[in-house]
Amino acid sequence: MNHRLENLLPVQDVRLDGDVDQKGLREVGLSTPRRDAISHVTGRTVYFEDVTFPGMLYLKMVRSPHHHARILGIDFSEAEKTPGFVRLITYRDVPSNYYTILRLIGIEPNDEPVLADDRVVYWGEPIAAILAESPQAAAIAASRVKVEFEPLDAVFDVEEALKPGAPIVTRQGFNYFRYEGHHCRRVRFGDVDQGFASADLIVERRWDTSPIEHAPIETTGCIAKPNGDGRFTVYTNTQALYFSLDNTALILGIPAGRLHFVGGTVGGGFGGKVDVIVEPLATLGAMLTGRPVKFVYTREEEMRISSTRAAERFYIKDGVMRDGRIVARQITLYVDAGAYSRHSPYGTTKAAAHMPGPYTIPNVWVDAHCVYTNRQPSSAMRGFGVTLGDFAIESQMDVIAHELRIDPLRLRLINAYRDGDMKAHRKRVEGAALVEVIQKAAELVEQKLDPDLTAMSSATR
């Protein structure tokens, strides 16, 4: 099998000189060196931690060792005696103690405190911040903070969390996000019961995924520096610079104009640096001490505490005909948001809209739940809400193909949506190319398609 790169491109050759003009294209089809490559290979790229200031303090977080507990009291006396200790921050010091991620995109309630007040709902939840003269002194002082807890029952499974009697993770009294008064996102199209009744075969499977940690080589962090004129400059590796600036302003109760955020150079994000977690506290630390404050995650914090891709669970029930047509698809999916919302309610909406996949199915029923458990809060990661849905859908398609003894490509080509088809969530298909992409891919791997399949197009069924 010969898959030379030049066979894949519309151009005859790939050059670095950039002078080629292919049908008016000056970038597509050409090899262009990355603009930042030389800076990276010489070690000259400036990441947030490559900036430093005299008198800088280091912030270390005191975190919950319990999955779910009431906080009965905190004793800072030993910590305060640690050489190098400068100051501590608790929820009382935070002007507006709630992250506002959702409010900024129109979704409420804000459920996640910046620093815990009377309870913790996940292992690693931040309780108090210690500021010290060196990272070692901060870590040592933080380890000497004594917190008294009353451990509570915890729940770690999405379906368990929805059962009556499950430990309640949220302050609202129920373990799911409410979408306009409903307990989940719902998609209803046609009548799946009728579809199942008319089907030749029912295929039913469950698909599960685990949380995935982005694990960027650069851990989450920032340095907040008081400029001396009431403004603060924050050097950060967030993927969401303006989002972080706005959130920080709201949490600190200051006008956004007093903040100058410097960033855009991220040592790997993948969606793991969109949660605005470190900037508000580092900036508050700078406000309270008048000194620059660095707050950077250790590798352990990055792996165990920073947000992950949500674990998801899918129950897919399909009614299929012997000739491969899928006539009914019923999906119940659960997104494990962990202890707090972050971006999961939005991700779950996307998941619901993404069902039933790029296929025209006359009867579709979807319930997509955003569920809270006492796990690490999950958030964005590369196509969150959508990519795992594709894992479940496409795995299910392969199972159907196997059960029907039909070529998996045929199964997809038969069911692929065409231009003008109505999708289950009431949008018309436009610019579909699934059929053509499958045909081209089959050609490239030298898999012969039957004539009726090669004759198909996205323009007609």
Binding site: P83, E133, A137, A138, A139, I140, S143, T298
Partner: protein, 281 residues
């Protein structure tokens, strides 16, 4: 203030004397690969750190098949000196090249699971450690050293320093090293198997089967060894020995694998190690 004091003894006697100082929490700095992170991250803070780098413990002496290895010999240095495939395999299975330039043979004896793969091999080779203390210098088998540590009060082990490790590379022994890990390179052990057999024609005269990653330290699977000794390594003996080893283990759950999974992988990896010897013949 944020770092412990660094003490640099110039002789082994000085080192054991300073280790024996009472009411002082001392951390031993060998290669640094296991302890420097705790110092840098301010975790489990000790009063002092004792540097072993100036005690001339970094020599390897080869005499016929006998290897005498100072505790501070680096893993990369060991691999350069000894061509045996099981030594090469064990060292290559540990971390990456940069860490192997620093990590020491002595340090690996104390590496907690899922690490300690060279120690697992040394256990199967019946390695001997030389211990220095203020009272005496003595030698005992690595297995006895581990048993002593298991049963001793922490205070009685204070002031005891491993200075030298001795083992044989006798070619009459058939040695297999096998590490099951999530990735092919630079990955902690799910189960490590180190096997050393002496044969009398087709009969196993002596069997040493060491396992790593399945307890709080490398262990000898004595139940399996009993079955292998005197057997001719037929498939029944292999299957039976592999299963018997399960009772010698007390695996832990960590980020790499659950205790449940490790326990079930033990007989699989042992069987594969034994099968590789049989097919060789």
């Amino acid at each position: 203030m944020s770092f412990p004091d660094l003490l640099i003894p110039e002789t082994v006697d000085q080192a054991v004397e300073t280790l024996s100082v009472p009411d002082r929490k001392a951390l031993i700095l060998g290669g640094g690969t296991l302890v420097q992170p705790f110092i840098t991250l301010g975790i489990d803070v000790h009063d002092v750190v004792i540097d072993l780098d100036h005690l001339a413990l970094n020599q390897i002496v080869l005499e016929n098949d006998l290897v005498s290895c100072g505790a501070m010999v680096r893993l990369a240095q060991l691999a350069q000196a000894l061509p045996q495939d099981y030594i090469q395999a064990a060292v290559a299975s540990i971390s990456g090249p940069a860490v192997r330039n620093l990590a020491t043979v002595g340090g690996n004896l104390f590496a907690k699971p899922p690490y300690g793969d060279l120690a697992t091999l040394l256990l199967a080779l019946d390695a001997e450690v030389e211990l220095a203390s203020s009272k005496e210098t003595r030698r005992l088998s690595l297995n006895d050293f581990y048993l002593m540590r298991d049963n001793a009060e922490a205070s009685s082990m204070k002031g005891v320093l491993v200075t030298r490790i001795r083992f044989s590379t006798d070619p009459a022994r058939r040695v297999v090293f096998r590490k099951m890990a999530r990735r092919r390179l630079n990955s902690g052990a799910i189960v490590t198997v180190a096997l050393s057999l002496r044969f009398d024609r087709a009969i196993v005269r002596e069997a040493r089967l060491a396992l790593g990653g399945v307890d709080h330290r490398p262990i000898r699977a004595v139940s399996a060894e009993r079955i292998l000794t005197g057997s001719n390594l037929d498939s029944e003996a292999i299957a039976s020995a592999a299963q018997a080893a399960r009772q010698d283990c007390n695996p832990q759950t960590d980020a790499y694998a659950s205790a449940w999974y490790r326990e079930r992988m033990v007989p699989v990896q042992i069987r594969r190690a034994l099968d590789s010897l049989v097919s060789y013949e």
